[in-house]
Symmetry: C2
Subunit: 156 residues, 2 copies
């Protein structure tokens, strides 16, 4: 196993930078057209007239962009085996066309699988902020990763 | 306001059917290529070799498909004003190429906004199952909806 990031390599307290990623109006409309065609995700005027204040990305689009940032930051060079779910998502501020997002993912907990000695769980909190320093997304989730050396890590 | 679904129209206990939606291999790969390019979301062989057991949709893709089902079922003909977040997501089983998903959204709680008399919150639990009756997704979230008649609904 020659991946850089195995379960052992991300103890609680690890902080990994995410982004930056600038989201365009075209990207917002393309995602929303397929998955979330509410007017404020499709049209600038409808966005301005809404509580969101402008053409704004679907919250699921923001989560998906965060996922891509996590892939590019470490997951694609990791032993990731997917994830059983998400603990919570907070869409704290609208993500508007032209916003540039960046942030961090911080590992908060880890545990071994009870049923598979080569597998472990990592819980992390990801946050993204925009170019004005406003937090737009907070998300806690738990992912599964293979261990690099299950024998040596037995007591971790 | 001539939308079918305003805040008043979805009391706790309301159940709205979602889907069906069949997800293709091409859709899985297209979403994953942009947002979650882990091997088990891009390639059948890599999926079969993984804990997921086949070419499987990104969990964020499954959430996004659920969002589209909610749009088609009621949100596009509602007073929806977006959502502040998601309480939890459980990806209970992999969603594999060719799976047909359907389910329900059930309203569990509602409350008025303290700061805006024309706005209310609806909390709901959505579940999707596949063609074998296996639950693949459980998701709880809270959305904001305009009231049809804030005066009449004052004590709701």
């Amino acid at each position: 196993m020659n991946r850089r990031w195995a379960w052992e390599d991300m103890p609680p307290g690890s902080v990994i930078p995410l982004g930056p990623k600038t989201v365009t109006a075209d990207e917002i409309v393309e995602f929303a057209s397929e998955f979330d065609p509410q007017p404020f995700h499709l049209d600038e005027a409808a966005g301005k007239a809404s509580i969101l204040g402008g053409l704004s990305a679907s919250g699921w689009h923001t989560c998906s962009m965060m996922m891509r940032m996590m892939c590019d930051a470490f997951l694609l060079d990791s032993t990731s085996q997917g994830a059983p779910g998400v603990d919570f998502v907070n869409w704290r501020k609208p993500v508007l066309a032209g916003d540039t997002l960046e942030g961090t993912v911080t590992v908060t907990e880890r545990r071994r699988s009870r049923s598979r000695s080569d597998l472990g769980f990592l819980t992390s909190v990801a946050t993204l902020h925009n170019q004005n320093g406003e937090t737009v997304l907070e998300l806690k989730n738990t992912g599964m990763f293979l261990l690099r050396d299950p024998e040596a890590a037995r007591d971790a």
